[in-house]
């Protein structure tokens, strides 16, 4: 994980360094070029003033120049004409300078010098100018064939190099210091800039699962972070809602499990209270087994709901769509109840034309099973249950409904029961909630209607 601060610092540091190197390089190059040009100008001026001493006197070229004079003090120079040395600076001793190859000679005053960097005799760095020119002629004296004169002047560049070196050192120093300073300022700026993020992190750290009602402080949040804070707040809101719902469901489940547990415990404790005939223990164990069965169904239903809540991805593994004859499935689901309904005098009225739909058979069976069981549980004795199937819907109606009008929506809530009790001992108020969830997954809608003591559930297929 890379810190934003590190990334910013490295990036900005590199940028500043590159900017300094490039601009320093340019400054160095231009300075060096202009200093060298000045040097060369001075060198050339000197060479021309030396050349002015060379003239044609009769048929010979002469340089009326005293090597020990004021012009020969500092620089090495040597002047030839037709391979004859006219004059050389005393500093050269017997050594020769080497002229650079040059162009056709013209008059000294116009001749372009050829300047090259060349080490001096003693090895010091220097620059050398070579002038090829025709000697000056006395006025009135005409010469057709003027001999070429070659002048070489060399001067040490130590002073110039020192100046350039100083400039380079200053540039490097300024660059390095500037980069460091920029980095320091950047680090500080980033630190200040990221302060709201740190504050945000501290706020987020303080949020525990138990305190999801906390909202992040909107003050002092920078513009760029504001959307993140807003999304985080929304996320917190959703989390708080989910946690609250989970907490309520857990409390309900605990409550629902306590009742059968109370039954199991009371039955066993009373049975163990004293010595009894074996038959009596058998009865107690059978009772406990029945309670365990009810509890198991409750837990299974809860688990089914939880799995469906987890989303279609986790339940899709077991889902397999097939073409189902709904009328046959309804008959299959109703059949086990038929005898009990007859015994209670309940009229069972079914209208089941042949209808097929494509969906997950097990889910549809669960839906129908729960709806029929719900109707059977709440129908009054000598009442009526009607099951009507159509191409796009199933309607299950039962009489004996004691629910107040307006509770149509609540019947699908988990653990909601019309009269706040388990009249059959194991009705936890989960059946319709499960149905709604399953129908959602199958892809349809389910609605409840209450009218004049009848309760109707309608499942519509999409």
């Amino acid at each position: 994980m890379t810190a934003i601060r590190t990334r910013l610092l490295v990036g900005a540091g590199l940028g500043v360094a590159i900017a300094f190197v490039v601009s320093g390089g340019l400054v160095y190059t231009f300075t060096r070029a202009s200093v060298t040009a000045q040097f060369d100008q001075a060198l050339e001026a000197k060479a021309r003033s030396l050349a002015a001493f060379v003239e044609l006197d009769g048929d010979t070229v002469e340089a009326e120049l005293d090597p020990a004079g004021p012009l020969g003090d500092r620089d090495d120079f040597e002047i030839w004409s037709r391979d004859r040395v006219l004059v050389r600076s005393t500093s050269l001793g017997t050594a020769d300078l080497v002229p650079s190859p040059g162009t056709r000679p013209i008059l000294a005053s116009d001749s372009p010098g050829t300047i090259v960097a060349r080490a001096l005799r003693d090895g010091r760095a220097g620059r050398q100018i070579t002038l090829r020119f025709l000697p000056r002629v006395e006025p009135g004296q005409a010469h057709r064939d003027l001999p070429e004169v070659v002048l070489v002047l060399a001067r040490g560049t130590a002073d110039v190099d020192a100046t350039i070196g100083r400039i380079a050192a200053v540039l490097v120093g300024v660059g390095a210091f500037g980069t460091l300073l920029a980095l320091a300022i950047l680090a500080l700026a980033i630190r200040l800039g990221l302060a709201p993020l740190r504050a945000l992190a501290t706020s987020i750290t303080a949020i525990q699962p138990g305190a999801l009602a906390t909202r992040l402080p909107p003050a002092h949040v920078p513009l760029e972070v504001a959307p993140v804070v807003a999304r985080l707040d929304e996320l917190l809101g959703r989390l708080a809602f989910a946690f609250e719902r989970e907490r309520e469901l857990t409390a309900e489940l605990a409550h629902e499990l306590r009742t059968p547990l109370a039954g199991i415990r009371a039955t066993i404790e009373v049975a163990l209270d004293r010595d009894r005939p074996t038959e009596r223990y058998r009865t107690a164990l059978t009772d406990v087994l029945a309670i365990a069965g009810q509890t198991e169904r409750l837990v299974e239903t809860m688990l089914s709901l939880a799995r469906l809540d987890a989303g279609p991805s986790s339940s899709s593994s077991s889902s397999s769509s097939s073409v189902i004859a709904v009328d046959a499935l309804i008959r299959e689901v109703v059949e086990p109840w038929a005898q009990a309904l007859t015994a209670r005098g309940v009229e069972l009225d079914t209208c089941l034309p042949a209808v097929t739909i494509t969906c997950d058979r097990e889910k549809l069976r669960l839906v129908l099973g729960n709806l029929v069981e719900n109707a059977v549980t709440y129908v009054d004795d000598a009442g009526r249950i009607a099951i009507a199937l159509a191409a796009d819907r199933i309607e299950i109606t039962n009489t004996g409904c004691t629910l107040p009008a307006g509770s149509e929506v609540r019947v699908f809530e988990r653990f909601w029961r019309g009269d706040a009790a388990r009249s059959t001992g194991h009705h936890a108020g989960l059946g319709l909630a499960l149905c709604k969830k399953l129908v959602d997954v199958i892809g349809g809608t389910v609605d409840a209607a209450i009218a004049e003591g009848t309760f109707t559930i309608t499942v519509r297929f999409a």
Binding site: H255, E256, R258, T259, P260, L261, A262, G263, I264, R265, A266, T267, E269, V270, A271, D273, R274, D287, A290, I291, D419, A420, A421, R422, S423, G425
Partner: protein
């Protein structure tokens, strides 16, 4: 002592009923709030065990109605909800005690006994009358050093007379409070059992007859 159990969940209802009967209580049961309220208003129970979540009429509604109509019966609430709000709601409506499901039957029994004692203004689980000692927990009776073996009916009758010691107890009251006498066909069954008790307790007599009224249990001589 006579108890009413109002509980819609059959396994709990049956087990508690059987347990209380085996510990000498005369027990009636109701499976919903309406039936429970009706029974509680018709009969002078010593204790009512009332579930909160009931069909038709909730336990809290039954409780409120009973108290509003002036009933002073001891009421033990059974609830599967354990939040402070739920517990306070029950007590504030006039319940004497509450027990959270699932519960230990021994605790239910102990709380029911404590409620019965309070109902008769007693604190001591042992009743002493002259040299007669009745341990209402173990349900044993001694006269001096002599242990007196009693049948369940005899014990229930003796305990009821003893908690009402010094007061006139009518036949109707015995009929209503003592173990399944109210289900007995014979009309003179109370006189028969009073006779058994007198014989077993020996002299000097502790149970005295008030002719035309009923019985009084006291150490004083028959006046």
């Amino acid at each position: 002592m006579r108890a009413l159990i109002v509980e819609d969940y059959a396994p709990v209802r049956a087990a508690v009923r059987e347990g209380l009967v085996e510990h000498g209580f005369a027990v009636d049961v109701a499976a919903d709030g309406e039936e429970g309220l009706w029974l509680a208003e018709q009969n002078p129970y010593d204790v009512v065990i009332l579930d909160v979540m009931l069909p038709k009429l909730s336990g809290l509604e039954v409780l409120t109605t009973l108290r509003r109509n002036g009933s002073s019966v001891a009421i033990l609430l059974l609830t599967a909800r354990d939040t402070v709000v739920d517990r306070v709601a029950g007590l504030d409506r006039g319940a004497d005690d509450y027990l959270i499901k699932p519960f230990a039957f021994a605790e239910l029994l102990a709380r029911v006994r404590a409620l019965v004692r309070r109902h008769y203004d007693r604190k001591n689980p042992t009743i002493a009358l002259a040299d007669l000692t009745i341990d209402t927990i173990q349900r044993t009776v001694r006269r001096g050093e002599r242990v007196i073996a009693l049948s369940a009916r005899e014990y229930a009758l003796l305990e009821y007379l003893a908690v009402r010691a010094g007061q006139l107890v009518t036949r109707t009251e015995i009929w209503e409070h003592v173990y399944d006498f109210h289900a007995e066909a014979q009309s003179n069954v109370i006189d028969v059992y009073i006779g058994y008790l007198r014989k077993k307790l020996g002299a000097p007599p502790l149970i005295h007859t008030r002719r035309g009224h009923g019985y009084v249990m006291t150490v004083e001589a028959d006046a």
